[in-house]
C-alpha cells in the first residue's frame, strides 16, 4: 500500500538529487536538468497534498509551476550557445 508518506519521501529524495546536481556538476545542461528535478519534486509534493485533502489549489499551482519551468527552460536554452560561442565583435 502506497501512502502519502511514500510520496513525500520520494519528493524529498528527488529534491536532494536536484540540489546535489546543481552544486556538484559542471556541465550547464546537467545543472539545468537538476533545477528541473527540484521544481518537479515540489510539483509532486503539491499534487500529493492536493489529492490528500481533495483541494484543487495544489493542482492549479502545479500548472503555474509548469508554465514557469517552460519559460525558464526557454531562457536557459537561448543562453547556452551564446556563452559557448566566441563573441562576434571580439568583445572587450
Amino acid at each position: 500500500m502506497i501512502t502519502v508518506n511514500h510520496y513525500i519521501a520520494l519528493s524529498a529524495v528527488l529534491f536532494v538529487i536536484g540540489v546535489v546536481g546543481v552544486l556538484t556538476r559542471r556541465n550547464i545542461i546537467i545543472v539545468m536538468m537538476s533545477i528541473e528535478i527540484m521544481l518537479n519534486a515540489a510539483n509532486l509534493l503539491l499534487v500529493t497534498f492536493a489529492r490528500q485533502s481533495g483541494d484543487m489549489t495544489g493542482h492549479v499551482f502545479v500548472f503555474m509551476v509548469m508554465a514557469v519551468a517552460a519559460a525558464e527552460a526557454a531562457r536557459g536554452a537561448c543562453d547556452h550557445p551564446r556563452v559557448v560561442q566566441e563573441p562576434r565583435d571580439g568583445g572587450y
Binding site: 513525500i8 519528493s11 529534491f15 536536484g18 540540489v19 546543481v22 550547464i28 545543472v31 539545468m32 533545477i35 527540484m38 521544481l39 519534486a41 515540489a42 510539483n43 509534493l45 503539491l46 500529493t48 497534498f49 490528500q52 485533502s53 483541494d55 489549489t57 495544489g58 492549479v60 499551482f61 503555474m64 509551476v65 514557469v68 519559460a71 525558464e72 531562457r75 536557459g76 543562453d79 551564446r82 556563452v83 563573441p87 562576434r88 565583435d89 571580439g90 568583445g91 572587450y92
Partner: protein, 483 residues
C-alpha cells in the same frame, strides 16, 4: 449543474500593472516598425509609462481592497512599494537612454524587459497567496536574467546572466519546495488562512521546514549573507543601468514579499524567527561592509555596499513591528534614489564600454568635471548616512525602530557598520578631490542630457528627503503591516 462562481475582479485596483504591461507591448511593437532614429525615443516612452503607472499607484493610496478571489490585495503597503518600483523603473529608463545607444542595446525589448520585471515586482508586493507570490517572483526574475545579459558582446555580461539564471532558478526551487511544504501542513495557499492554521501547528516539522526553506529562497533574492555568492559577479558584469535597477527595485520587491509572508502567514513563529533574521542581518551588513573595504573597482564596491544595505533593511524585518516594516519601506525608497543616482554618475565616469571604473579612474575628477564630482559626493554621503542627506534620515528611522523594541545590540552593530562604510565611500571622495590625475589617458567626461536630468532629480530627492522627511515618513508609517 451548478454554475461556476466567478470571483469579483476589481480592475481599477490593478491600473498600474495594466499600464506597465501595455507600455511594454507598445515598446515591442515600436521595435518592429520604427527605424533607427525612431528608437531613440524608446527610453522616454518607458519613462512615461512608469510615471503614469506611478501616478495611478499614488492615486490608490488609502484604498484597501482584496480582489481576484483573495489572490491580490491593494493596500497602503503595496502602494508604497509600487511607488518605489516605478521610481526605480523610470530612473533606470532615463539613465539607460545614452548608455543603450552607446552600447548598441537600444532595442524595444530592453525597455520592455524593465517594465515586465516591474509588473512582476508589483505582483510580489500585492500578492496575498503563495501562487501569486511565486508567479510574481518568476515574472520579475526571468526578465532580469535577460536584462543581465543584454550586452551580448561583453563576456562578463554573459557570465553574469548565466550565473544569475542558475542561482536564481536554484533559489526559486527552494522557495517553491518551501511553499509546497507549507501548503501540505496547512492545506491552503492563502496567506491569512495559513496564519490562522499556523497557530495550531507550532512544532509541526513539515511546517517549520517549509517556513525555513521559504526564508532561504527569499534570502537568496535579497542577497543576504550567506546566500549572496551570486551578487558581486552579477552586479559587476551586468550593464550599469541594469545593476542600478536590480539593486533597487527587485530588492525592494523581494523585501515586500518577505515582509508580507512573515507578517500575515507566520506571525505565530515570531518568537523563533527573529533569531534567524537577526543573525542574517548582522552577517549581511558586516560581510558586505568588510569586503567592500578592500575593493579596487567602484562598481564592485557598490555591489558589496548593496549587500550591506540589505543587511540594514533586514534590521527592520528582525524587529518585526509596524515601525520596523515601515522603516524598511522608507529606507528602500531612499536607497532607490541614492543608488540609482550613484550609478548614473558611475555611467558618466565609466565612459563607453565601462572601461574606467576603478578608484584610480576617479582621481582628479573634482577638476575634470566639478559638477559630476559634486553630485557623486552627495550620493556617497547619503549612502554612508551622513546628515543632512536622505541616507541619514532613513538609517535613523530604521535603527530607532530597533531601539524601541529593545534590540539595542542590533542597533549598535548597525551603527558600527555604518561607520565602517564611511571609509570606503569617502575613499572615493578623496580620490576625486585630493588625488591628481596619474597622467593616463581617460575618455573626456561628457554628461548626456538624460543622465544630467537623472542626476539632478536624484540629488534633489536625496536632499529633500533628508531635510524634510516627516511627510514621507508619515506616508511610510501608514504603509505598515500588522505584526
Amino acid at each position: 449543474m451548478t454554475p461556476i462562481k466567478i470571483p469579483s475582479i476589481a480592475l481599477d485596483a490593478i491600473g498600474p500593472e495594466m499600464v506597465l504591461t501595455a507600455t511594454a507591448m507598445v515598446l515591442l511593437m515600436i521595435e518592429v516598425f520604427a527605424d533607427k532614429k525612431g528608437r531613440d525615443h524608446l527610453g522616454y516612452i518607458a519613462l512615461g509609462g512608469s510615471v503614469l503607472a506611478g501616478a495611478l499607484a499614488y492615486k490608490l493610496s488609502g484604498v484597501s481592497v482584496t480582489t481576484f478571489g483573495g489572490l491580490y490585495v491593494v493596500d497602503n503597503f503595496s502602494t508604497f512599494f509600487k511607488i518605489i518600483f516605478m521610481i526605480s523603473a523610470g530612473l533606470t529608463a532615463l539613465i539607460s537612454v545614452k548608455y543603450a545607444q552607446d552600447e548598441g542595446i537600444n532595442h524595444g525589448e530592453y525597455y520592455a524587459m524593465i517594465l515586465f520585471a516591474t509588473v512582476g515586482m508589483c505582483v510580489m508586493a500585492s500578492a496575498r497567496d503563495l501562487i501569486t507570490i511565486f508567479m510574481g517572483v518568476e515574472v520579475m526574475s526571468i526578465a532580469l536574467y535577460v536584462l543581465a545579459g543584454m550586452t551580448r558582446t561583453r563576456e562578463v555580461s554573459n557570465e553574469a546572466s548565466l550565473k544569475y539564471f542558475i542561482l536564481g532558478a536554484f533559489s526559486s526551487g527552494f522557495l517553491l519546495y518551501g511553499m509546497a511544504l507549507v501548503y501540505g501542513a496547512t492545506g491552503t495557499t492563502q496567506l491569512q488562512a495559513i496564519g490562522k492554521a499556523a497557530g495550531l501547528l507550532t512544532g509541526n516539522p513539515m511546517f517549520i521546514a517549509g517556513a525555513v526553506m521559504m526564508t532561504i529562497g527569499f534570502a537568496f533574492k535579497v542577497a543576504a549573507v550567506p546566500f549572496h555568492m551570486w551578487t558581486p559577479d552579477v552586479y559587476q558584469g551586468s550593464p550599469a543601468p541594469v545593476t542600478a535597477f536590480m539593486s533597487t527595485g527587485p530588492k525592494a520587491a523581494a523585501f515586500a514579499a518577505f515582509l508580507r509572508v512573515f507578517a500575515e502567514a507566520f506571525p505565530a513563529m515570531k518568537e523563533d524567527w527573529w533569531v534567524i533574521i537577526w543573525s542574517l542581518a548582522v552577517l549581511t551588513m558586516t560581510m558586505g561592509n568588510v569586503v567592500a573595504l578592500v575593493q579596487n573597482d567602484v562598481k564592485r564596491m557598490l555591489a558589496y555596499s548593496s549587500i550591506a544595505h540589505a543587511g540594514y533593511i533586514l534590521v527592520g524585518l528582525a524587529v518585526a513591528s509596524p515601525a520596523g516594516s515601515s522603516g524598511a519601506a522608507f529606507y528602500l525608497l531612499v536607497y532607490a534614489f541614492m543608488n540609482i543616482g550613484a550609478f548614473a554618475l558611475l555611467i558618466v565616469a565609466a565612459g563607453k564600454g565601462e572601461r574606467t571604473t576603478t578608484y584610480q579612474d576617479f582621481s582628479g575628477m573634482g577638476r575634470r568635471s566639478p559638477l559630476t564630482a559634486l553630485a557623486l559626493t552627495i550620493m556617497v554621503f547619503s549612502l554612508a548616512g551622513i546628515p543632512p542627506t536622505a541616507g541619514f534620515a532613513g538609517k535613523f528611522y530604521l535603527f530607532m525602530s530597533a531601539l524601541e523594541k529593545g534590540f539595542v545590540w542590533l542597533a549598535v552593530i548597525a551603527v558600527i557598520n555604518s561607520v565602517v562604510s564611511v571609509f570606503y565611500y569617502l575613499k572615493l571622495v578623496v580620490y576625486m578631490y585630493m588625488r591628481d590625475e596619474d597622467g593616463e589617458a581617460r575618455p573626456e567626461i561628457s554628461v548626456a542630457a538624460p543622465l544630467a536630468v537623472a542626476a539632478v532629480v536624484t540629488v534633489c530627492a536625496v536632499m529633500w528627503l533628508g531635510v524634510m522627511p516627516a511627510k514621507y515618513i508619515d506616508f511610510a508609517k501608514s504603509a505598515f503591516l500588522p505584526f
